[in-house]
Symmetry: C2
Subunit: 321 residues, 2 copies
């Protein structure tokens, strides 16, 4: 019987589910509006029902071989989501533990979104066969999944890989974490918006971005403007890449990866983000690593990346048995 | 029969050898003047002879169970020392391979000094039982050995853990590596000397350090001056700790260790280095790690630390069998 793993990507607005085989083929998909369930147990029941209903939409019979979950502030060691700012339920949520009661006798694994993306990259994407690499997720914030000798770097408490919160500028931009100068205040979809506004404040150059409010502005709009030759948009990408490249050079000094993958919205800007990032990384890297660490776009189909990453968490364990 | 491992610490001036048991007891010691051997093969022969002669100085019969080597630019994966600036022999030196010909059938392992210190800390020192920790060596430069899930972080090429060469200040101090602003230009024995000279240049405060030339000045002298209440020395330690603490806060964000150990000359300054470093680390660390990551002095007897660390590299492997 075909073995399939349920991958769940838990977001503040929606939770996306999929049934995935070991090649990354998706057999069924579903979405739950996370905010519709202020009661955590009812939410888990809805996840359960969605997965159970998959058996009706998949033509051939299959065995549910496990459940992988990517969640904000997910702790792999405990299976809990701990104090996630964007979820309705507060405190420490025993996700894996409670789901195990609904799905006994199958592996249920949970980690944060960026770690799931890294495992997805290793199982289905561009990091196949690699033992030491990092995935940087450039979304609203900046996340990182660091793989060392074939395993995710979780650290003592399960929360390693907070590259978005290394401080890159003393007395720099205010960060949502309560400190100042964190990398993600510069290198993320939000970071590049802030950089655009800084440039509009400092310079007189004309820009199509002058017509867009901060809240309306998206990384995609900045990318479109860059493609149109807008000087402010192009310079904003250059500044973003400069910060990101410097941080990646430091990440290389610490973890010596074979490659670094950029994933998420901002990474889709292609050369506008890759060229300045590579330039800055190479300028700031220790000489003997120059030209040796590849900076690559994620090899995972973006649409289903989060679900694939979550499923990969369990496929990695099954494959190693 | 008692099993003993030979630990070798290779330095540019001297190479120190010791015979060590699994508890860290040293049964014999020897020193070779590294610079007296411009011929690499004759140097290896001298190492061989010194180890062979140990059997005459040790009372009870023993079995040589392996050889562990700590060396500048040592690569654990290849057993080679690669392009070490302070050694007479240039290029890639196949240390472990050539020693294996002289000592067949025993494990011979090599890594860099900071990694050896980290393994020493785990086997003999304060990191016993820890799975995720780092050792920072504060000598002429700054080295780091990062342990993740019980294993040293070597990375793709064996050279991970170059914390001394993360860039902490854009357009900062010139570093021996050819770049500017590396952590070790601020936080190391050399770094604090440079900071003393910067303070003497910037300020008018009286200081006993005004009588000492740059080449004469040592971290020990700066420590003595601080104990004597010298304001420049005290401020130099404060600046050093501020830089180091910021870098350690970033290291925590990436690797989430249980503890960080300070090792080497500068670490012996006690509260003068620990207090400002802890203060800065706590100020700059992500909130949920505040107060959770211990900053500790190395638990290894300093005199024999390098030899113990080198021997521990092999004891770790023997113990795991």
């Amino acid at each position: 019987m075909n073995k399939l793993v349920a991958g769940i990507d838990i977001g503040g607005t929606n939770s996306v589910l999929g049934l995935v085989d070991d090649k990354g083929k998706i057999y069924a998909e579903g979405t739950i509006a996370t905010r519709k369930y202020p009661d955590f147990d009812l939410y888990l029941q809805a996840l359960h029902d969605t997965i159970q209903n998959f058996s009706e939409t998949v033509d051939e019979p299959f065995e549910l071989a496990g459940i992988g979950i990517g969640a904000p502030n997910g702790n792999y060691y405990t299976g809990c989501v701990e104090f996630a700012a964007n979820l309705l339920w507060k405190g420490v949520l025993p996700f894996a533990g409670k789901l195990s009661a609904l799905f006994p006798n199958i592996p249920i694994k949970l980690t944060n979104d960026a770690n799931a993306a890294a495992i997805g990259e290793m199982i289905y994407g561009g990091a196949k066969g690699m033992k030491n690499f990092s995935v940087i997720t450039l979304g609203t914030g900046l996340g990182s999944g660091i793989v060392v000798d074939g395993e995710l770097l979780y650290g003592h408490d399960g929360f390693a890989g907070e590259l978005g919160h290394i401080i890159v500028t003393t007395n720099g931009r205010e960060c949502g974490c309560g400190r100042c100068g964190c990398l993600e205040t510069y290198a993320s979809a939000t970071g590049i918006k802030r950089t655009v506004y800084k440039l509009l404040a400092d310079q007189v150059a004309d820009s199509e971005l002058k017509n867009i409010s901060f809240n309306e502005l998206s990384a995609e709009m900045i990318c479109t403007a860059a493609i149109n030759g807008d000087p402010v948009a192009i310079e904003a990408f250059a500044h973003t890449g400069e910060h990101l490249g410097r941080a990646l050079a430091n990440l290389v000094a610490i973890t010596a990866p074979e490659a670094i993958f950029l994933f998420g919205g901002l990474a889709k800007a292609g050369k506008y983000i890759f060229e300045p990032t590579i330039k800055s990384m190479e300028e700031n890297i220790l000489k003997f690593w120059r030209g040796k660490v590849a900076l690559l776009p994620s090899g995972i189909n973006d649409k289903n990346a989060a679900v694939l990453g979550a499923a990969a968490l369990v496929w990695k364990i099954i494959n190693e048995k």
